[in-house]
């Protein structure tokens, strides 16, 4: 039932008369916009001559209704957040890559150059690890996320994130394979700076960051957005304190993986603590 129909169906004075009074009250309401209860009070005044209190109940002021709706939506979003879970799982996946890099590469075709030798190093096991581990991680994240939020009484917006995350990792490997095929490198040539940034962005740690941007957008989560931008900065502009510079071909990757995983782990702990304190009961 709409407000105009209520006027038509009112008893007592004629419908036309009601319509006129109704319009006058609209003008009155519009003349007092700062009065937060103006609509409700007028709504109650109408009750004896045919209006129901349902149409404009106490607290039915549009500003207040809209503010209430926004507040409820914000509270639901807070309830839906389980940000610590993806960060924790992805940190574990990153740390898990360390032994795979260490023992999962094959060195071949070594030939001597000035002051040493150059070898081809194949990371097929590493590629397989990242694909399998990241896909499994997103399944675990989606399942865990839904389980936690459903226990809280709401559904989560995690599936687009999980799909985007898995797709980005696959896309990254596909891009790298095509790039290497089209642009074979010969020592001492190095990829351009742009190509290096692109590779880092589409490498699994970079793809993890890009997917976290999707999650931040889905959850309208500013803190996660800022955290992810920081994480991506660490991934794209590797921190180098000189560690691992002379560690040899078996350990040079360890510092960066430790830093990436450490940032994710710290983020997980931080969000877990914050959300524990802030989540509405």
């Amino acid at each position: 039932m709409r407000a105009d129909r209520q006027v038509e169906g009112a008893d007592g004075p004629g419908a036309d008369e009601h319509a006129v009074i109704w319009q006058c009250l609209h003008v009155l309401m519009l003349r007092h916009p700062r009065d937060q209860l103006a609509l409700a009070q007028i709504g109650l005044l109408w009750k004896p001559i045919g209006m129901t209190s349902d149409a404009t109940p106490v607290g039915g002021d549009p500003r207040r209704l809209l503010a209430d709706a926004r507040d409820l939506a914000r509270r639901v979003r807070l309830t839906q957040r389980v940000t610590w879970l993806p960060l924790l799982v992805l940190a574990l996946v990153t740390f898990g890559a360390i032994p795979v890099y260490r023992y999962g590469h094959v060195v071949s075709d070594c030939h001597p150059v000035d002051g040493g030798e150059v070898c081809e190093v194949w990371f097929q096991t590493v590629t397989f690890y990242w694909l399998a581990a990241v896909l499994l991680a997103y399944v675990v994240i989606a399942y865990g996320y839904l389980r936690v939020t459903r226990a809280r009484g709401v559904d989560a917006r995690v599936l687009p994130y999980a799909v985007a995350g898995a797709a980005l990792v696959g896309l990254g490997f596909a891009f790298a394979a095509v790039w290497i095929r089209l642009n074979p490198l010969t020592h001492p040539e190095e990829p351009s700076a742009f190509a290096q940034v692109l590779f880092r962005l589409l490498d699994p740690p970079g793809a993890i960051g890009l997917a976290l941007l999707v999650l931040a957008w889905l959850e309208r989560h500013v803190a996660l957005l800022l955290f992810t931008l920081g994480y991506l900065t660490v991934v794209l502009v590797p921190i180098n304190f000189g560690w691992g510079a002379h560690w040899g071909p078996h350990t040079w990757f360890i510092p960066q993986l430790v830093i990436n995983g450490g940032v994710l782990l710290l983020g997980s702990a931080g969000f877990a603590l914050t959300q524990r304190l802030r989540r509405p009961r």
Binding site: R2, G60, P62, A69, L72, V76, R77, G153, D155
Partner: protein, 118 residues
Amino acid sequence: MTGAADIPEPDETESPHPVTGLDDLVHQRVRLGILTIAHEARRVEFGYLRTQLELTAGNLSQHLSVLETAGLVQVEKGYAGRRARTWITLTPAGHAALAEEIGRLKLLIARVETTDHG
């Protein structure tokens, strides 16, 4: 029921006042709250709604019954282990009604502010 995008620009002389388009069913604090939460949560559990809206179970049931009869929400009963749980989902008509109500409220506020400054 027209969509929020179809709402005319505020014009006191020609267009109907936004209040005339308000739907009693939705223009009510609790029911608007139910629709808002169900929209944001995709699917919401009865107990969560009751807590957030600070209602008794009986009161919430009455409001849900009104919305379900109007085809704005779908109520689904199930079990989580041994515990019975009731889930509420917004129907397409519910999404449209919510969008229209929010649109009307914004238009009403805009109309009030225009009148105030004018």
